[in-house]
């Protein structure tokens, strides 16, 4: 046979890239515009911004279009894009009380202090496929609601809520006080890899950009499944709203508002029941994720309190820190598609060595339990 230096690599890549272009060009329908993705798939855009760790709707829409709708692929494109950008500074730390809420519910009380806003949610709609009439029906216009100049319903203004449930519960004496000033500077997990024992800010950051399904699944294992680090959680604040982003001006030193982000914020109240816990009180977990992604923020808040309660007794903290990143998990899983014939050959060689050793043992009539057998090369 001739020499084996395979030249197929570049040709194969070229062909694969061409196929992608051809599929797009040969599609019957028009290509999707970025505005369409942003306007009509907001949950998808928010999820990709959250898992990619970069707040920019147009970039997320580009990544979604490029990835053909694959969420983890899109998040990967976002993160790799981040790696090409220089970091120019940090914003002023923002207190979550500065959220202008678009949606706020508080399951723990019928009427919490402050307004509840159902907001935009599919929770109470019927999950049946829309008929064409349903889909095309224009929104109702009510006289007592804000309208635009052309008589369309205007978006509801965001509201600053005066209080949060955790503060109310603290005042009522219902909450264990775990507030700490021990780690004032949040640990940047993109610079210092998070490991068990890392400060809580690293745990929260990890969950904020974790894969949504990974957090949901880990939560499920804990509330009903084999892990059981959660007892009985009730939600406090569940909010979706806008937070300002401000930086210090390099010349004047004054804060300058450079934009805003939307976040989903959740408080999770755990009914303490552990032998070493203060069972006369509740404890709280906290979740905050970019964009509107309630299942992720709820899972995050639950896992925050679960990790705190677990206190290193189980592998939960390590599971959250090390196994919930979508890119890490999927990338490593799919790397199995790479050629592994060098390693496989080595495995086969050892299997043959084991079989030779077993055969030699048998030929000698050795008793397997009689200590270390003679090693056969």
């Amino acid at each position: 046979m001739g020499y084996v230096a395979a030249k197929g690599g570049f040709e194969a890549i070229r062909a694969a890239e061409d196929l992608v272009r051809r599929r797009r060009a040969q599609a019957d329908s028009a290509e999707v515009e970025l505005d369409q993705i942003i306007d009509h798939f907001p949950a998808l855009v928010d999820r990709v911004m959250g898992e990619g760790g970069l707040w920019d709707q147009r970039t997320a829409a580009r990544a979604i279009r490029q990835a053909g709708g694959d969420v983890i692929e899109a998040a990967h494109i976002i993160r790799a894009h981040r790696a090409t950008l220089a970091r120019i500074g940090g914003c002023r730390p923002v207190h979550a009380d500065e959220i202008d809420v678009l949606r706020r519910i508080v399951p723990a009380f019928r009427e919490p202090p402050g307004p509840q806003l159902l907001g935009v949610t599919p929770d109470y709609t019927g999950r049946l496929l829309d008929s064409e009439d349903d889909r095309l029906a224009p929104p109702a216009v009510h006289d007592d609601q804000p309208q635009t100049a052309t008589g369309q319903p205007a978006p509801s203004p965001a509201i600053r809520v005066g209080s949060r449930l955790l503060d109310v519960l603290r005042t009522m004496g219902e909450l264990v006080d775990r507030r700490s000033t021990a780690d004032p500077e949040p640990e940047d997990i993109t610079r210092i890899p998070a490991r068990p024992g890392a400060p809580r800010s690293a745990l929260l950051s990890t969950m904020a950009r974790a894969e949504t399904g990974a957090l949901v699944q880990l939560w499920y294992r804990n509330i009903l499944g084999p892990d059981r680090n959660l007892h009985e959680v009730t939600l406090g604040e569940v909010r979706h709203g806008r937070l300002p982003v401000e930086m210090r001006h390099p010349h004047t030193g004054l804060p300058v508002r450079i934009g805003e982000v939307r976040v989903t914020e959740v408080e999770a109240l755990e009914d303490l029941d552990g032998a070493d816990e203060d069972r006369t009180k509740f404890d709280a977990g906290y979740g905050l994720v970019p964009g509107h992604n309630e299942r992720k923020a709820i899972a995050m808040a639950n896992l925050d309190i679960a990790v705190s309660r677990d206190n290193g007794a189980s592998p939960l903290e390590q599971s959250v820190l090390m196994t919930t990143d979508g890119l890490d998990a999927s990338g490593f899983l799919e790397h199995l598609k790479l050629p592994h014939y060098v390693t496989f050959r080595s495995m086969m060689e050892r299997k043959q060595a084991m079989r030779r050793a077993a055969a030699a043992r048998e030929a000698r009539g050795d008793d397997e339990s009689a200590g270390i057998p003679e090693v056969v090369a």
Binding site: M1, G2, Y3, V4, A5, A6, K7, G8, G9, F10, E11, A12, I13, R14, H76, R79, A80, R82, A83, T84, L85, A86, I88, T190, R191, I192, P193, R195, P196, P315, Q318, M322, L327, D328, S330, G331, F332, L333, E334, H335, L338, P339, Y341, V342, T343, R345, S346, M348, E349, R350, A353, M354, A357, A358, R361, G371, I372, P373, V375, A377
Partner: protein, 308 residues
Amino acid sequence: MSVVAALRAATMPADRRERAVLDEAAKREVRRAVLTAVAVPGYQVPFGSREMPVARGWGSGGLQITLGIVGPDDVVKVYDQGEDGGVNAANLRRLIRDSEGVETTTDPRAATVIQTRHRVPEDELTEGQTLVLQVPVPEPLRGVERDMTELRRMHAEMDYARMWVSLYEDIVRNGVITRTTGYPCLVDGRYVIATTPIPRWDVPPLHDAKHLSLFGAGREKRIYAIPPHTDVEPLTFDDVPFEVEHAEQPCEACGSVADDGRAASYLVELPRADGTSRWVCSDTDWCTRQQVVNGRLAADAVEPLEEL
């Protein structure tokens, strides 16, 4: 000029290449981690691993090291399973070339930096050459301990007892040590490392080598190193010799044999449907050169690898 364009212009060096994949601050972080790794051979140095255009688990760590250490005069070889022409190696090579503007080669003798997935070149490397290995799992003790806090303690206190027990149990149970690739080795008499999934065949060339070996685990976010002329001892017992993957027949393509009559390089098996096999060198560039040396291929018949 848009705000984004203005910020970019203000923060990127003027000579930055358009397809640059890693910013200069990140490269500096990688180099600092590499320096720490070289200063403490075998120690797994945590670093702020960035996401790369290749997926996690596909060489993002090796890639960051290569991007961090090359300059415009470097010549880079990238290969996978010993093969330069495979898709993954070709993709990485293209990325590196476009990002850094370096020349590429398939000949390890001409390369200054060799990025490899799971092989060490059959050619002996020399001073000034750097081997960058892609590492899927950097933790050698993973099989005997899962808790990361305990793993840190074991390395910190040089407590490798559980690893030794597991090797002993391996022999008792199986008659031989059954570790396949990524054989655990003691580096500089201090840290046990995972030699990545390189075959046992490739472990001896790491010992007291003239070249520098750098190990990049992007997903796990660690870098470790074997400086030149460092002891690398595979963990085994005094009466249990370290065994490599010998092939009884030589490569079908080049026919190279070692002094003991067995194949002179690491061979891989190409099975046929009838259950028989062909055996050929894993290292395709070395094999091609041996074919010329052994008169099986005319020197002018060798076609260079096509670049994208």
